[in-house]
Symmetry: C2
Subunit: 350 residues, 2 copies
Amino acid sequence: MNLKIAVLSGDGIGPEVILQAKKALYAVGVVYEHDFIFEDALIGAIAIDKTGSSLPEQTLNLCLNTDAVLLGAIGDPKYGIDAAANVRPEQGLLKLRKELGLFANIRPLKPFKGLLDVSPLKREIVEGVDFVIYRELTAGIYFGEKKLNESGTIASDLCEYTEDEITRIAHLAFQSAQKRRKKLTLVDMANVLESSRLWRNVVKKISADYPDVALDFLFADNAAKQIVTNPKQFDVVLTGNLFGDILSDEASVITASIGVLASVSIGEKHVLFEPVHGSYPHAKGRNIANPFAAILSAAMLLEYFGLTEEAKKVYEGVEKAIEYNVVTIDLNPDTKFGTNEVGEFVSNFI
Amino acid sequence: MNLKIAVLSGDGIGPEVILQAKKALYAVGVVYEHDFIFEDALIGAIAIDKTGSSLPEQTLNLCLNTDAVLLGAIGDPKYGIDAAANVRPEQGLLKLRKELGLFANIRPLKPFKGLLDVSPLKREIVEGVDFVIYRELTAGIYFGEKKLNESGTIASDLCEYTEDEITRIAHLAFQSAQKRRKKLTLVDMANVLESSRLWRNVVKKISADYPDVALDFLFADNAAKQIVTNPKQFDVVLTGNLFGDILSDEASVITASIGVLASVSIGEKHVLFEPVHGSYPHAKGRNIANPFAAILSAAMLLEYFGLTEEAKKVYEGVEKAIEYNVVTIDLNPDTKFGTNEVGEFVSNFI
Ligand SMILES: CC(C)[C@H](C(=O)O)[C@@H](O)C(=O)O
Ligand SMILES: CC(C)[C@H](C(=O)O)[C@@H](O)C(=O)O
């Protein structure tokens, strides 16, 4: 298979972990005879430094014309929240999601056997957990109208959803549930929010098309509790942009470290893979960042393009590394291994 | 001391647990010679049943003219999210908060020693945790303009904050930090939301008045993770209405059960005490609901009115009950005790 992959390493530890993901993909290419062509481009703080924009035209054009995007992380303390939108790293990512139409962000949560005891949660809570979060990614309060009055004393953000925006991700989530344990949980705040009531009504309507999937509802406050008290109840969790952001970061504790969480963002025409973690500027260049999330993002990419066996191999490489305790410091405080060694182990395994 | 207390038992397990709180207050009144006058009033589903409104005029008037309000819980499945606002139990509570001007909801999070092992979190995570959440309660997306277009395909909620709304709760939070470990963490989403940027700017400005308090910032997604991975870092957490709702429910897992969490809501002129838990309709009338949260809400009431010794006594009563394992089923699956017996134990102790 031929795949053209835009690689947006971004800021902080982004380049280090993405390098390991590339190594894994390269190894897969050699062993299984695929042609992966990587094209690097700028995003985030580094893009601001070099071009003045957090999402340069060139990067966007490249992403619009590749098979897939592989992203590292964005964000640097030197571009704070007070800077203009164009020179805030996260705005580059938000714009990229919007321009590529990546309306669904999908994060699987299934702890590795070898890491069950690393979680802050008790083993009996995390053992056997296996669910996936579908977070709406290009609408809601993230993208609604923002206002600040002239005197700077009143500020607002609009949380708006349309039936279409809910419909398209709901179908994806239901289809996923059909292939899994056939349960879908909608997380909203329909007791308080009008937009949440629309979510509920639309999702209820769509559920008629999926009679084999059991649908239930949870308010976001309760969901935040359930995720750490009884995560085994979940199969597919569907939710809006803001709740999805908060709950998926929270849910990362189930997997011991946010450093092992990968995600894929899907649109009609484009697809982007990225680790869930951020840019961790303080860890940059120290060879301590966990490359698993980036490597597993590469595995998701393979899976997405139907290279199931290859994806499995990468996943097994990570499992083996964990088994042999070839892990970074977030997973083992006494480790002798860094980003490079761990990444090397996985690509050698492949 | 003479205190007139409006008692709004509400729905589900509300009446059962509030009865135990009243018993505790009654015992305190007898032992320490105070005159607590309870006046009952309707709120929630039961109020809808009897008067057609979830917050009858009479209830509101009573609350406006008492020293304090003690609330149980509201909510009943028979009044779903599709009903008109006036016949949705939670709207009664939201309206009450607004009318009484209860702009700050305060939830202390300090696990009982005897319950450290009941939490889903590991003991080393929860041991020694001691923080308090200040949640803004009468503004933000809960109270912003709600819209649904005519065809029912576009819905929105406005999240708006003014400098004044942020200022008044920020002062309370800073003052609390001064009396504690002198650290305040603002939780927002200033990387994405305009209203969050206002929160940040206002809180930064106010922090100049409290040079002895260290101020730091956390994005809400990261906060959701930190609360379960490293809750010891927190002293006072300040946040908006929606984030506060989600994070304080999540944080309840630190204390083993939401059934032991009390809260106070404060305004310029009024004050309301309520357990953090909901109405649990399925537990209603079964003598299994945990009365600790309601009893501890009563202890907060005593504390608020300067009856420190009395408050301590109630708190000790709960501690003793836990020590002797006189607890409800949420804290001990093999318990022989129910709501009544546990409440009885505490009031006898007093
Ligand atoms: C950087 C930020 C805008 C982003 C988000 O909140 O969407 C990040 O937290 C994420 O979850 O991918
Ligand atoms: C019932 C509901 C409106 C309420 C809220 O979200 O404020 C409750 O969850 C709470 O936290 O007190």
